[in-house]
Amino acid sequence: MSPTPSADRLRKRLDALNEIIAVDADRLPSELCERAKTTAGNAAARLGHGTTHTVVALAGATGSGKSSLFNAITGHTLAATGVTRPTTSAARAAVFGPDAGPLLEWLQVPTSDRLEDPALDGLVLLDLPDHDSTESSHRAEVERLVQVVDVLCWVVDPQKYADAALHEGFLERFSGHGAVTLVLLNQADRLHADDVHRCLTHLGELLAGDGLQGVRTMAVSAVTGSGIPDVRRELQARVAERRALVSRLDADLDWLSGDLGVSVGESDPAAVAPLARDRLVRAAATVAGVDTVADAVAGTYRHRASLAVGWPVTRWASRLRAEPLRRLGLGRGSRGGAPGQTPGGSDDGLTMTVPRSSLPAPSTISVGALASAGRDLIEDTSSQLPVHWERRVRDTVEPAMRALPDRLDRGIGSQQMPLQRPRWWAVLGTVQRLLALAMVAGLVWLGALFVLKWFQIPDPPMLRLGQVPLPTVLAIGGAVLGLLIAVVGRRLAVVGAGRRRERARTELSKAIAATVDAEVIAPLDAELRAMRVAQERIRAFSR
């Protein structure tokens, strides 16, 4: 049999379903995912057995006459019939035409008979056990087989045609399978002719109530044989068409795709809104202690400036204090040598060498605010999503939020602080050294003069700058100018420190934002994007 357009279409749909199962399994409700896998597996297996055979199952309640009808249709007494209930406890098959061994093996129907009947060539007729007796194993067998046969032929009788076990247990569930469903009202011989008609009409109404409008119903009698030729003709037509298999699988996929479509919800998962992200970044900056670090950067800058351009006479006092950044564990590990004068001259900025800072623990308030921002984020992004996706968003964000404070700390630790040594430090530092030198030279000179005077040795000729002796100029001028430059240097340092505080704040905030993006926003956006793609895929499948 060459593949028909509808078979091609079915294969395409199956491929689409398999892709959904492969890629989006985690994004489906687990029960639905299982169903999708079963459906796809059954469909592939059934297609693998080809369209040579059409499997028709006679299913129904105990005592409706499935086995009698089976015998009547095949024209042979194959299945045992009886008056005690239930009679049939295992499915059996009648195979017309070519061998159906592998197919029956797959259907797990071990008992079968090969029959020759050119009219029904290709038919595999199954006699199923009942679905409503106290033997629950029978029902399980029926449940299994109605999932996989090509045509469902329900046998009912005047007593049982309105049973809830049939309508609510099976027919309502298979309401999408009308094209491959037949309903036979057996034991029609027990009714008056006009009652048969009334009964069939009512049966049609009940079927319509189950969602099976326009399903073929026929009154038959296995005892008198009335209606049996019609049933055979109907089966013959279905077998000849060889479309039942595809229709059945199509109906399976329709049923599944409806539920898949519902499961992805109405609204599209939108990307994280900038507002929600910014709120999270701000809260993260507070927790990370951006202000504290920025202040420490400013303090460190002032500290180093005072070491570089302070008055050399009092500079040693500064050296006794630790740098603020170092106190936060953000300095270098080395202890020896003045900062800023480290050999190698590579101390342009500070690079973190230990993984953790010793920033003071963030306040309970800021930690709480960060958690709240995380919950806001979950709410903003998932409130419109189906429940299982909402849970997925939670499962994506919550662990990331728990890990975030630690990541933020590392992020701060590895951040370059804007502490490059400005050129004016070197200039002013040199000037300071020269002034100090001058002051010392003046003092030594004056001291020498004092000693000479004390020993009554006459003064050597005095060098003067204007009226003032040169040593005095050197000593006092060096001291005054040195102090002046120290004061100017401090002023400049305060301005520079302020500027660096702002720069540190900006850069740290950027680093925090990058961490938040990498740890929380990016995974969430990726998940939301994957949801959108899954939604597209599933909607395309459902159309």
Partner: protein, 588 residues
């Protein structure tokens, strides 16, 4: 009548018995109320069946037990029930000897139950005594069926004297058709029966649904008669033997079985000879008053034993529900207690006075200067401070707002965490999903108006501090001093002390809070004396924590409301066990 080894109560009420029965009625009513009040919202083992059983028992008590306890001499209600298409209506009509209920080929045939009784028993069935929930119509015409879409069903009463007095036959709807109302109504009617006549057919007798009903008849020891209808001619022996085998397997050996072979009937023709035996059986039951009353009593004892037994498992299920509900409640309590504790430790260890509050405090008093003043003596300090405190109301307002802001943020964020943690834990619990449907939208967050309520409560607290200072200071030596500084200023200092006065700050906290603490401590000690100051600070902190606890209680109550909405009552199981006690004691 003295039953062999059974109850010794006479059928006609003596004074003593009336009292016993009256007490029993009271007991049963109390138990019925308790059963009706029990809820099983959590999907735990046994919840679904307990829910169902409780509803069924309540119905059974209303429909049958309570009316019957009031009158044992009233006619026995024989309910003819069974599958659709088994010929119940034809059977009832045949026993009565007239078409009282329509039979036909359209399934289900009977939708409204028909009750046939003797003229003399009219008063008993006419009133809403038994089956009080069903409206009565008196109509001899055999109706077409009501619509399947109409869920309201009436009990049609028909009086026929072919039926003996003391017996009423009820043609019940089917137990297994697509008509849900029929199935529910049939179950209700069978539960209200004194005697079951259960009809099945040769095609039906192995169906699962009828055996479910027969099982429940066995459990309550209902007098049971089985009718096997529509047997194919010739198969009578074989099918009957198979049915009896099934009866034995289900513990119903010895049940009387009446068999009827499939007949071809014309028009309104009724069954004749096949129902003779059954009719005789009923005649006998109706004619012998003593036997009937004893049958009814025995049935009632069976019902009581069954109800008592089922109440035990319902009580167990109720216990389980309570345990689950308590577990959920405990989770909420733990998280809010943790939140309260977090607030308490934040308040106590002084970390709140960082940043904004500290800045405002420094603005308020000027720490450095104040410290210097303290060393030079209280007298000069007072003059300094009175200027600082009374003359700068704006900065004091700033301080108050800063404290309020920082506390509000702390409280709201902790409440938010507690709510999220509670809901998260609830969801993770096996029964949490039952809660999810009931939970209002924003349950997992702090209430929207919590910030507002917190702010209001904190402002109350701050103004409360003022009156504390005023009251404690009144009538003492300190009054003048306090007054000279201004009550507001002192209360502001006291407020700061609440956040820092721990009697033992350690390490970094001293550095942070020390300044404020030391200033406040020294200042108030100077003004009020050490002991007085301690008392005031402790009192103020207690007041604050009580307010926080109150706010968190309100927050937690949202979760408790969800649990209450689910309706698990405390001690529901124990109460039911106690109330069911008289039934199992077998006082009847």
């Amino acid at each position: 009548m003295n039953g062999p080894g059974g109850s010794t109560v006479a059928p006609m009420g003596t004074g003593g018995e009336t009292a016993t029965i009256d007490r029993l009625v009271t007991d049963v009513r109390a138990m019925r109320l308790q059963l009706g009040a029990l809820r099983f919202p959590f999907d735990a083992a046994g919840a679904a069946s307990a829910r169902h059983d409780a509803a069924v028992i309540v119905q059974q008590l209303d429909d049958h037990v309570l009316p019957r306890l009031e009158n044992f001499d009233a006619p026995a209600l024989v309910v003819v029930g069974g599958s659709t298409g088994s010929g119940k209506s034809l059977l009832v009509s045949s026993i009565v000897g007239a078409v009282v209920s329509a039979s036909g080929v359209i399934r289900p045939t009977t939708r409204s139950p028909v009750l046939v009784h003797h003229h003399d028993d009219e008063h008993w069935f006419g009133e809403q005594r038994i089956l009080p929930g069903l409206a009565r119509v008196r109509d001899h015409r055999v109706h077409d069926n009501g619509s399947a879409d109409d869920p309201r069903r009436e009990l049609r009463l028909v009086a026929y004297d072919t039926l003996p007095a003391g017996i009423a036959l009820l043609d019940a709807p089917d137990i297994d058709s697509v008509d849900t109302v029929n199935r529910e109504l049939a179950a209700q009617l069978l539960a209200a029966a004194d005697v079951w006549v259960f009809v099945t057919t040769a095609a039906r007798y192995a169906d699962a649904v009828p055996w479910g009903f027969l099982e429940s008849a066995r459990e309550r020891g209902a007098p049971l008669v089985l009718v096997l209808n529509r047997i194919p001619p010739g198969a009578e022996t074989e099918v009957t033997a198979d049915l009896i085998r099934l009866l034995e397997r289900h513990g119903l050996a010895g049940t009387p079985v009446f068999t009827i072979v499939e007949q071809t009937l014309r028009g309104d023709e009724l069954l004749g000879e096949p129902v003779e035996q059954l009719r005789d059986w009923l005649q006998e039951l109706g004619a012998d008053n003593d036997r009937r009353v004893e049958t009814i009593r025995r049935a009632m004892r069976g019902v009581f034993a069954d109800v008592a037994r089922r109440c035990k498992s319902i009580a167990t299920a109720a216990d389980a529900q309570q345990v689950l509900g308590d577990g959920l409640q405990r989770v909420a309590e733990e998280h809010y207690a943790a939140a309260l504790e977090a607030v308490r430790s934040e308040v106590a260890d002084g970390t709140l006075i960082r940043g904004e509050v500290l800045a405002r405090w420094e603005e308020f008093v000027g720490t450095g200067e104040l410290l210097r003043q303290l060393r030079t003596g209280v007298g000069r300090l007072r003059s300094r401070l009175s200027g600082a405190l009374t003359g700068r109301p704006v900065t004091q307002e700033h301080l108050n707002v800063a404290v309020e802001n920082v506390l509000e943020r702390l409280l709201v964020s902790q409440a938010d965490t507690a709510a999220a943690d509670t809901l998260g834990d609830w969801r993770a619990m096996p029964v949490g999903s039952a809660i999810d449907d009931r939970a209002p939208d924003a349950l997992g967050r702090a209430s929207v108006d919590l910030a507002e309520r917190t702010a209001a409560s904190l402002r109350d607290w701050q103004s409360g501090l003022i009156s504390i200072v005023r009251d404690k200071g009144a009538g003492r030596r300190t009054t003048a001093r306090v007054m000279s500084l201004g009550v507001n200023g002192v209360s502001a200092v006291l407020m700061m002390l609440v956040f820092s006065h721990t009697g033992g700050l350690t390490g970094g906290e001293v550095a942070i809070a020390g300044g404020a603490s030391a200033v406040g401590h020294a200042l108030l000690e100077a003004l009020l004396g050490d002991e007085n100051m301690r008392r005031l600070a402790t009192g103020a902190r207690q007041d604050l924590m009580e307010r926080v606890a109150q706010l968190y209680d309100d927050e937690r109550r949202r979760f408790e409301a969800v649990l209450e909405g689910a309706g698990v009552s405390a001690d529901g199981g124990d109460t039911l066990r106690r109330l069911a006690e008289p039934l199992s004691a077998g006082t009847l």
